[in-house]
Amino acid sequence: MGELEQQQPGLDWEYAPAPESRAIVQLRDRYGLFVGGESVEPVSGEWFTTASPATEEALAEVAQAGPEDVDRAVGAARDAFTSWSRLRPAERSKYLFRIARILQERSRELAVAESLDGGKPIKESRDVDLPLAAAHFFYHAGWADKLEYAFPNRSPRPLGVAAQIIPWNFPLLMLAWKLAPALACGNTVVLKPAETTPLSALLFAEVCRQAELPAGVVNIVTGDGVTGAALVQHEGIDKLAFTGSTEVGKQIQRELAGRQVPLTLELGGKAANIVFDDAALDQAVEGIVNGIYFNQGHVCCAGSRLLAQESIVEPLVGKLKRRLSTLRVGDPLDKNTDIGAINSKAQLDKITELVASGESEGAELFQPACELPERGYWFPPTVFTNVAQSYRIAQEEIFGPVLSVMTFRTPAEAVEKANNTAYGLSAGVWTEKGSRILWMAEQLRAGVVWANTFNRFDPASPFGGYKESGFGREGGRHGLESYLRFDG
């Protein structure tokens, strides 16, 4: 009877490391370009190294495509276009289904490669990136032979050769977002993955071969911004799709001025996560955490501004800080890791600089005690309180695990503050009141408004921005439109 009153301290329980095996990925020492269905050496003769941001260990050498290489890739895509665009749509659909199934079959391997090369936690690449990438191919496989029904009486036709440039935050998923609709609509593609994360795209080249996709339908050119610029400037492209920073997006738009190349841009964001006083607070905290710390905050639609109703800001921030101390930062391949490595040295420097500016402008910084590994690029989950709308951390996209907390008093003020940004990609609304959700969704100038959730994606739901977050939509029926011309 006495034992229970002794108030023994609870068990000091540490989770033992639970690493996912690396052995499932067989990386080659060198990867050439994927042009015309073959892996080819770059004409440029140049190579660069891709490394793991978690350990700084070199993973493989990758070709740096020069203008001639880009020219060859566009040529291969052009050659393949005639037969691919004339293929019976139901046959195109079969290829996409096949790719989707191979992605599912090889999902563990691709998830490990993604985490190795990009630094994101394995639970995220395993549970989010890979399932969504496969879902995009499945979804668009279904559209391939139904385009006439998607756009009745408008005679949809493919555009030709689509040039696609994707970012490093969701390498394989962004590849899927770009490739699946382009191929479903009958286009051929030259895709340039980001410089720091080329591996999953190069493994995807193997998937294309395994699916026996006709040579030249998908071409992959790796390299840095120079490669990207060569692709944008190439006379042979019929379409350009870019996901990345607003700065580069503007350069691309300037470059394409006066040319007959339709453009879609998916750029930066500074989304507001708006929490009203009647919201389910513990679940709102989960949504805030998911909104800004998911993928180390390397998410264009990240909820990087928390707008909390003043009457609940104290309990809300209290719960949030408490929750942050349970986040596990470390080895991306450990199945229990919540926050992985920052993608590159350059990105880490940018985050560090902006966080320093927040401190010097007068915001109050909170970071939970957490041990960061010595090697690699790491940043602890960070919350700024006492943030004024005019601070840089409230205005600029940080693209890291850094949240700025601001308050509002009325729904109208929440809308005003949320919309007071150059961006307009996404927003979150937390309230138990259905009518308020609908009213807010009408008022907010954002491409996606999530209600009582955040960072939810589905291939059937169009995604894209207002203002400097870009134009054009990806996903859903709207996403197809960017890869078609209409004769009717």
Binding site: M1, E3, Q8, G10, A18, L281, N336
Partner: protein, 311 residues
């Protein structure tokens, strides 16, 4: 019936608090519970967790067919769960009907294993209040260390919250020093909002533990329901400093489920709750599965269920 219910000191009267209980979003709660269930617990951390699970078990038999002989066997198992491996600790308590308190005491003697008795018209609670209170008082007088009472779901679901509250206060007074666990029977409450409201109500009325289920209704202890109650416990602790315990009961049969509950507990309430003083599993068949897993962790091989006693 003339006595005014006393309110636990740290709390203001319950009714004005109702508006501040707060809401629960079902979709997000279930997503969070599913996410926590994916923690991968290996090696030393798994063994430590399994031994803690044993120490947290309220080994339960609640059948019309229970006899002194059956309860004696249960008590023997509770004191020494694995006769082959004496390093396995004893369980926290045995949980029985009031008529079996005496045979249990006889068998347990001075063992640290405690006796929990269900009372207050278990499992339905659909009896006159006076009888329910008398039931609890009798169980305490028969020597139960802990009383597992049920709330009046009929009153709760018809919105008579104050009545539910007053009843718990009266039971609290009737059982004296005995540890009071309040069973919400979450499977009958219908929504997580109700679970949260009932949790606050029970804690405000003086519960030492809140408990999910009687084990007679499905669903019983699911991960999201436990998470919802843990969050209510955390909020009360942050606001008042009072630490209330949690007991999921019913439906937890496998070690894996128990470890998932512990991960949720660890990341919601933290180390201070990783103790049988503040967390229990109401279970019967769970124990043998945990014993089997402990053996596996120690020897590296699975043994047949026939190597573990069926009591």
């Amino acid at each position: 019936m003339t006595q005014t219910p006393t309110v636990v000191r740290e709390f203001e009267p319950f009714t004005p608090r109702l508006g501040r209980v707060g809401a629960v979003d079902a979709v997000a709660l279930e997503a969070r519970a599913a996410e926590l269930a994916k923690r991968s617990i290996k090696k030393a951390s798994k063994l430590a967790a399994l031994e803690l699970v044993v120490r947290m078990i309220d080994l339960t038999t609640l059948e019309g067919a229970d006899t002194p002989g059956k309860v004696a066997a249960l008590c023997a198992k509770a004191m020494r769960p694995d006769p082959v491996d004496l390093s396995v600790p004893h369980v926290a308590a045995v949980c029985v009907y009031p008529n079996l308190i005496e045979p249990a005491r006889e068998r347990l003697g001075s063992s640290p294993v405690r006796i929990a008795a269900v009372a207050t018209g278990f499992p339905s609670g659909q009896y006159p209040v006076a009888l329910r209170v008398a039931d609890a008082r009798a169980a305490a007088e028969l020597g139960a260390d802990e009383i597992d009472m049920v709330i009046d779901r009929g009153a709760f679901l018809s919105g008579r919250y104050a009545e539910v509250y007053d009843q718990i206060v009266r039971v609290r007074e009737a059982v004296g020093d005995a540890h009071l666990k309040v069973i919400l029977e979450t499977g009958e409450l219908g929504t997580y909002d109700n679970v949260r409201r009932a949790s606050f109500l029970a804690m405000a009325a003086g519960a030492d533990f809140i408990k999910t289920s009687t084990g007679k209704i499905n669903p019983a202890a699911t991960l999201p329901v436990t998470l919802c109650m843990l969050e209510a416990i955390r909020d009360v602790h942050l606001e008042t400093g009072r630490a209330v315990g949690m007991k999921p009961a019913g439906g937890i049969r496998q070690s894996k489920q128990a470890i998932q509950h512990l991960c949720m507990l660890n990341e919601t309430l933290g180390r201070e709750w990783l103790t049988p003083e503040r967390f229990r599993f109401g279970a019967s068949s769970l124990l043998n599965d945990v014993l089997m897993q402990i053996r596996t962790q120690k020897t590296g091989a699975y043994e047949s269920p026939d190597h573990f006693t069926v009591d």
